[in-house]
């Protein structure tokens, strides 16, 4: 592993060296997440919940509820609004805003590429 002074780098599993600005991570094919559901991903030790809305949007947020640590990927999704399964705190997964509860959740930039793969932008994900 090497580095350029003042310019942090990441190493992808394939071994290619990229600067952080360019860093992206392919999570899974879009089809791996059923419409209206979410799944958890292990992104280098950090757990991230990724949701696929029924209208085709894909969003990534922190995996646990800030209230009592409920598994957000097990929540009910309607549009981009998510209900935590434990005590029904509500969030908007597109913005991280809290709709019911005391505080919002962290979001991560994500998109679906041309080959229908869900791609996470690593900006700010890995410390």
């Amino acid at each position: 592993m090497g580095g350029t002074r003042g310019k942090p780098i990441l190493i992808t599993p394939a071994g290619a060296v990229m600067t952080r600005n360019m860093a992206e991570l392919t999570l899974c094919p879009l089809s791996a997440i059923p419409p209206g559901e979410g799944r958890n991903f292990d992104v280098r030790g950090e757990k991230i919940a990724v949701f696929r809305t029924r209208s085709g949007g894909v969003f990534a947020v922190q995996a646990t509820c800030p209230h009592r640590g409920g598994p957000l990927s097990d929540g009910l999704l309607g549009g981009t609004r998510l209900i935590c399964p434990l005590h029904a705190w509500k969030f908007d997964v597109s913005t991280g805003d809290v709709l019911f509860g005391d505080c919002g959740i962290r979001t991560y930039p994500v998109h679906v590429d041309d080959s229908a793969q869900i791609v996470l932008h690593l900006d700010g994900v890995v410390r």
Binding site: L27, R54, D74, G78, F100
Partner: protein
């Protein structure tokens, strides 16, 4: 510099002084120089407590509301003992009796009222003064006069058996006098009581030593130079040493009439308490608003507030809309509460009545269109606070009228919401206090649903929902804004359940997303999804298009989520019957998957708690037992007692009935969970009488079917639906009820609420007598649901969905 306007009040009684207090509270002290004319030489005192002064339980000083110092501190010029004699409107002057003019910019008339003197001979002496021994009872001075005259006397009469007359009688008794109440009407307190209550009150009064004479018209006060007795129109007489006249009051409107203001029964005012003259107001007993005059204190407080709001400009929209008259008092130790009318007026008026003369208890309510329009409570007024609030706010009454008169079962609701401490916890599941609910209403949430959404009150077990609703109504002052969505089956589709079912059938909608597309403008609502999924499954059986995202996680993975994100697994165990082989198998699974806790459930089954999501399919495969549905809004279980096989008391075979029930209804989706039980005799060891559905064997080979029982956050004994002769009939009628419940209950409405809402009579008619002609169809639907049953734990292995049970996925690259 702006000069202050001059505000003059004629009257320094309870209405006048309270109005000034309200004006000061709105910053009126910086707008007005205030001058008050007061007939009496003192500050303002609480006239209501005069009888307590008379009977010695209060000293004079105790009843002062505004002592003279209060006027000084607030820079109010009090002309105590100075009677206002006239008003010159054109010059805006009030004249004192000695001719001194007092200029005003705004004038408030609060002259109150005075006792009515019925026409009778011998009332006055030739000089116009009362004959010695004749008194009225209105002021502190009257009080002193009565007290000093009573010294050494033996007998007194009170003319008038109304509220004030009885209070005077009570005061007189304390001087050791023999007291007679002489009343013109046929029963006491006819303004507040009906004849029945009046008769009981009379008995109570007589027990306390007061003699009550009814239908007595006093024509003459006997005695040359002092009172010696009374003569009545019927020729009879009564010897007495003194007489207190308390035959009603008459508003003091003369000063207003003298300057040409409109008078009817009193000084006519509009909704801002203004007379015909924009600068002159009237308030209290001397005012007549929308044809009504008031002699009680509560309306007067309301009028004072509106007047102060308006005159200070602090709320130019303030308006008085009249008061509903309710009163609670103690007459000689007998508690009385009265509100509204005392006799029914419409033929549809419903009267609920209880009378126990021996104990002096009487209760009567008059209900019109489900709302209280009149009420009398005598002797026991424990329900007065609740009833007076319901009367005042015009809130709908509970269907069970008995609860209006008595506290039965439920914790006594003896505090009103006003009295209730703000910190009182209302929702015990989510820890929401009365104060939080009220604050939420103040912040603009004007209906129960909005408040529940915002605070989570009532969103736990739901048993406090009705209390939350009542508090919201109270906090809104009865002016709730109804949220139409309370009538919807689910919040996100604007249709009631029957409308929704019709639309689903009409458009042939078989999936939750199709319902959103067709009936909600394509707008998905997360909270509505599970309810729709449940209903669609009920309507379409196996033709329902299952979309797993529409299900709550428990039903998505057929297990019950726990606080740490693990799950509990409860295999089916019909009737609570197991076997050594099954127990060995369960033990092995618990070991193999390191299950942290194995516990018996309340439904006679075994619960494996703390199973990882990823292990669920393997646990099910290894158990090789069907799902027990311990996670769903569905049929859960049917527990059973030992029944007739082993129990020496058993009358019926409860075990085999429980097995048949499980076979019949397993896996049924329903609006909420359904827990069942069968009991082999009325000892009810399996608690069948407090289940959603229960069957209890009774002598003669019969079974009683109970429905709508509960023993969770609410406790309710079920209603007996019917008594039948065989297991087959139990299954048939239980099935019919279950299907009727599935089609008609709101989502998350347990059977006990559903049965209470519809009433057992209605349900019996539908299920037993086929009053709607749907029994055959209900039976068919049940059969179709039964045919569509598949064990979800086996399904997982038949058609696995990739990563459904993965708690964490690796990334591709």
């Amino acid at each position: 510099m702006e000069t202050k306007r001059k505000l003059v009040l004629i009257g320094n009684g309870m209405a006048g002084a309270r109005t000034v207090e309200e004006i000061l509270a709105r910053g009126g002290g910086s707008q007005f120089d205030i001058t008050m004319f007061g007939d009496e030489p003192t500050g303002n005192y609480n006239r209501i407590l005069l009888s307590n002064v008379l009977n010695g339980s209060y000293k004079e000083d105790d009843i002062f509301l505004n002592p003279l110092a209060w006027y000084r501190e607030n820079n109010i010029r009090l002309l105590a003992g100075t009677r206002a004699a006239g008003i010159l409107r054109r010059a805006r002057l009030v004249f004192a009796e000695d001719g001194t003019p007092e200029p005003y910019d705004k004038l408030i008339i609060a002259t109150g009222s005075r006792p009515i003197l019925p026409p009778m001979d011998g009332l006055k002496m030739p000089d116009g003064a009362f004959k010695p021994g004749v008194f009225v009872f209105r002021t502190l001075e009257d009080c002193r006069g009565i007290a000093s005259y009573a010294e050494g006397k033996t007998t007194a009469a009170v003319i008038g058996g109304g509220l004030l007359g009885l209070e005077a009688a009570r005061g007189l008794q304390n001087f050791g006098l023999e007291v007679n109440v002489v009343h013109l009407a046929g029963h006491l307190m006819q303004q507040q009581l009906d004849a029945g209550a009046g008769a009981i009150l009379k008995t109570s009064m007589e027990k306390l030593g007061v003699r009550v004479l009814l239908n007595k018209n006093t024509t003459t006060i006997l005695g040359q130079d002092r009172v010696l007795g009374l003569r009545f129109a019927d020729g009879g007489t009564l010897e007495c040493d003194m007489v207190v006249i308390s035959a009603g009051i008459r508003p003091n409107w003369e000063i207003a009439a003298g300057c040409g203001l409109p008078i009817e029964r009193a000084i006519v005012v509009d909704d801002q308490m203004r007379t015909d003259d924009r600068d002159i107001y009237a308030v209290g007993e001397c005012a007549q608003h929308r044809g009504q005059t008031y002699g009680l204190v509560a309306p007067l407080w309301e009028q004072a507030k509106v007047l102060a709001d308006y005159i200070t400009g602090s709320n130019p929209q303030a308006a008085y809309h009249g008061s509903k008259v309710a009163t609670k008092l103690k007459v000689m130790g007998v508690e009385v509460a009265s509100m509204g009318i005392v006799e029914p007026r419409d033929s549809d008026d419903e009267v609920v009545q209880f009378s126990e003369p021996k104990r002096g208890t009487y209760k009567k309510l008059i209900i019109r269109e489900g709302r209280l329009v009149g009420g009398i409570l005598l002797g026991d007024i424990s329900k007065a606070a609740y009833l007076m609030q319901a009367f005042d706010r015009n809130t709908p009454l509970p269907d069970e009228r008995l609860r209006l008169l008595f506290d039965i079962g439920d914790p006594p609701k003896q505090v009103t919401f006003e009295e209730m401490n703000a910190a009182t916890q209302i929702c015990n599941c989510n820890g929401v206090s009365k104060g939080t609910i009220v604050a939420c209403v103040r912040n603009g949430k004007r209906n129960a649903k909005a408040v529940m959404d915002a605070t989570r009150a009532g969103m736990g077990c739901g048993s406090c929902k009705s209390m939350v609703t009542e508090i919201v109504e109270w906090a809104c002052g009865g002016q709730t804004e109804e949220d139409p969505s309370v009538h919807y089956y689910v919040p996100g589709v604007p249709l009631t359940k029957p409308e929704l079912i019709r639309a689903i059938r009409e458009h042939n909608l078989r999936s939750v997303s199709a319902v959103f597309d067709y009936l909600a403008g394509g707008k998905e609502d997360a909270a509505s999804k599970p309810g729709l999924a449940s209903l669609l499954k009920t309507l379409w059986h196996e033709e329902y298009e299952d979309e797993r995202d529409a299900r709550f996680i428990n039903e998505r993975v057929h297990a019950n989520i726990q606080k740490d994100g693990t799950f509990s697994v409860v295999p089916q165990m019909p009737g609570g019957i197991t076997s050594p082989a099954q127990l060995r198998c369960i033990a092995d699974v618990a070991d193999r998957y390191r299950v942290p806790l194995v516990k018996l459930t309340g439904g006679q089954r075994i619960d494996l708690l703390g199973v990882r999501k990823d292990d669920l399919p393997n646990v099910w495969r290894d158990l090789d037992m069907p799902s027990g549905y311990a996670y769903g809004k569905s049929y859960r279980t049917c527990k059973s007692c030992v029944g007739s096989d082993f129990c020496r008391f058993g009358l019926g075979d409860s075990i085999s009935l429980a097995l048949k029930i499980e076979q019949e209804f397993q896996g049924f989706d329903s609006p909420h969970k359904m827990k069942l039980a069968t009991a082999g005799c009325p000892r009810n060891c399996s608690e069948a009488m407090v289940k959603d559905l229960g069957a209890v064997a009774v002598e003669g080979g019969k079974w009683e079917i109970y429905i709508g029982g509960a023993a969770g956050s609410s406790v309710r004994k079920g209603d007996v639906l019917c008594t039948v002769d065989s297991h087959e009939e139990v299954l048939r009628y239980m099935g019919r009820f279950i299907q009727y419940y599935r089609e008609n209950a709101k989502y998350l409405e347990r059977t006990y609420r559903f049965v209470q809402r519809l009433g057992i009579a209605k349900i019996r008619a539908v299920v037993m007598e086929d009053s709607e002609g749907i029994a055959e169809r209900l039976d068919r639907e049940i059969a179709a649901s039964k045919a569509a049953y598949k064990d979800p734990w086996k399904e997982v292995w038949a058609a696995p969905v990739a990563n459904r049970y993965s708690s964490l996925l690796p990334v591709l690259s």
